[in-house]
Symmetry: C2
Subunit: 350 residues, 2 copies
């Protein structure tokens, strides 16, 4: 049996479609519909189990109350948390969420973003892969409400919410330095990505600020995945002069690095210290709880949605805003205190 339409209700109650529509949209007053007909319509609507066809509605109104979210990897707890909070907030404000996973692939991102536009979303939240942005330019030009999150482009004047990657990275590295470390490796994510650049800049600035020369051979990494952390760490540990600490710039990289460390029979922080960007899930239960720079994941999702819906609801286009969130250091046990005067390649006991 097909879903009941306005027409069905109209026929059954002997009225016209327009009257039924107005009543169901609570406009009886404005169009002075009698109380009797109002009751009647509501009753028949209930009897027929009427649900408005949102496609038709969207077509007519040019609003679908649906927003899109596209992210690089939805199984990653970081993105999953953002998505969950986005979903909850959006639903609270009357919007559904279509989610897309680009698998860190720009081409996929293009595809998804266009498809979302086709489906008539009222706006979208994009956590871009981050190497290319022309496909997004189209939407800002055509005034499609858009919020960029996490990996931003300086050349695109869209709404953005991001965390202070530079500050976070710098805090991490300065924490290591304060514990006596100076031979510090960094395993970065996808290079030439805003996020990666900023974290790298925080790393080098922290070193320079403390008059520690930047050793190019300690700058490693090529993407945000686990495998990357594993491989780079594996090589790193085989070097003659091992660093005393590693700064891993994503949760997945951290996991890969730990796997390599344990595989080599080493322990954290006795043999090597680790500090990570991104909270790692269940870090408290780890063999060695990891000290991290945690991002406020839930807040990111929530703010992104609110920013987007503000845009959607505003009659005139608002000036794009940039919201920067501060990450915060969570000190656990993965960073050892190192004797400043000991050989740089020997990690001291805490």
């Amino acid at each position: 049996m097909l879903p009941a339409t306005l027409h069905d209700i109209a026929r059954k109650s002997g009225l016209s479609v327009s009257t039924v529509s107005r009543i169901l949209n609570k406009k009886s007053a404005k169009y002075r519909i009698s109380e009797a007909t109002e009751k009647l319509v509501q009753k028949t609507a209930r009897e027929l189990n009427y649900r408005p066809n949102q496609l038709a509605r969207g077509l007519r109104l040019k609003r679908t109350h649906t927003i899109g979210l596209v992210a690089p990897d939805l199984s990653n707890p970081f993105f999953a948390s953002i998505m969950k909070s986005a979903q909850v907030v959006a639903h609270g404000l009357g919007y559904s969420l279509i989610v897309c996973d680009t698998d860190e692939n720009v081409q996929m991102e293009v595809e998804h973003v266009n498809l979302l536009y086709s489906k008539g979303v009222d706006g979208m939240i994009v956590l871009p892969v981050g190497q290319k942005n022309s496909h997004l330019g189209f939407f800002v030009e055509h005034a499609v409400p858009l919020v960029l999150v996490d990996r931003v482009f300086n050349d695109l004047t869209a709404n953005t919410v991001l965390i202070d990657n530079y500050g976070g990275a710098r805090e991490a590295v300065e924490f290591l330095i304060s514990r006596g470390h100076s031979r510090i490796a960094i395993i970065q994510g996808l290079p030439s990505t805003y996020t990666s650049n900023e974290r790298l800049r925080g790393y080098t600035d922290a070193l320079s600020h403390h008059n520690i020369p930047v050793d190019e051979s300690l700058i490693l990494g090529k993407d945000f995945r686990k495998q990357n952390g594993y491989i780079e760490t594996k090589f790193l540990l085989r070097r003659s002069e091992r660093p005393t600490a590693i700064f891993t710039t994503s949760d997945l990289i951290t996991l890969g690095a730990l796997e390599a460390i344990f595989e080599e029979g080493l322990e954290v922080p006795t043999d090597i210290s680790v500090i990570a960007f991104d909270e790692v899930e269940s870090a408290d239960f780890f063999r060695c709880p990891i000290t991290v720079i945690a991002q406020p994941k839930e807040t990111i999702g929530e703010i992104a949605v609110k920013l987007l819906i503000e845009q959607i609801r505003s009659p005139k286009k608002l000036d794009p805003r940039q919201i920067v969130l501060k990450p915060h250091l969570i000190v656990r046990e993965s960073v050892a205190r190192v004797d400043v005067h000991s050989a740089a390649d020997l990690a001291a006991v805490p």
Copy 2:
């Protein structure tokens, strides 16, 4: 500037809307459209950056190429993984995914499911909260393609994909027994839920099968959350006669239980053994890597989508199918071997 429509292309190329539509839908042959006009239309479509309005399309065709997925908690890695694989498979088959988070709340579930139906999804995948099903009955009656996952109802003849909860639980408990345990506690999830019932049944059957009496005071728990695991374990550890092992029936419960154990200054498996249902994220890096019954998460998502789309594409309604996936034991280090003859409340060294 508004998006270009068929009408715009028609006007610009001096043709009719219908012709344009047919060409863009690759029906030129069927309607014998000349090659010249075909080229022309494709050119102008490209120039105007035409994207079909999927709302109008959906309205006309009664198919939106969108499916819904509703789950109890999208930030939980278990559901996040299912969702990710579902998204990827769906997109590969030409479908978008609208996701909804019910937060383990039946009322939310009702709301979401209805909204999805309103939005004209071609079908939905529901991971129900599990205490009530009347709102889903409507859809099976009205032949809306539907796939139920994980927490199923025996009284609803819909497509389902689920894992063998009974078998998994039984395997877990028998593993404990084989290691000498007999005082085994279980912390279950939401009672009167199919999943919970089956896991409990596996627990009791395993015990009975080995002539171990079932002690009602060792059956605990009221929902799948972390807090539940924490509280129940906290109480459990204060008992005079402590069990030698705990069977935690979800990943979150496990995390809560571990927190309680460590807080009490105890160690796994020296002081108490733990075996868990659900893989726990990064278990390999834990202070004590947890032995688990792992569910094939990605497979679940993939199968659910394929089952659903099979339904959607089939001209006549297919008989509902039930697909049961086997979970598998991953032995790590959280279960100690216990001397069968020792006092039951003393855990022996491995």
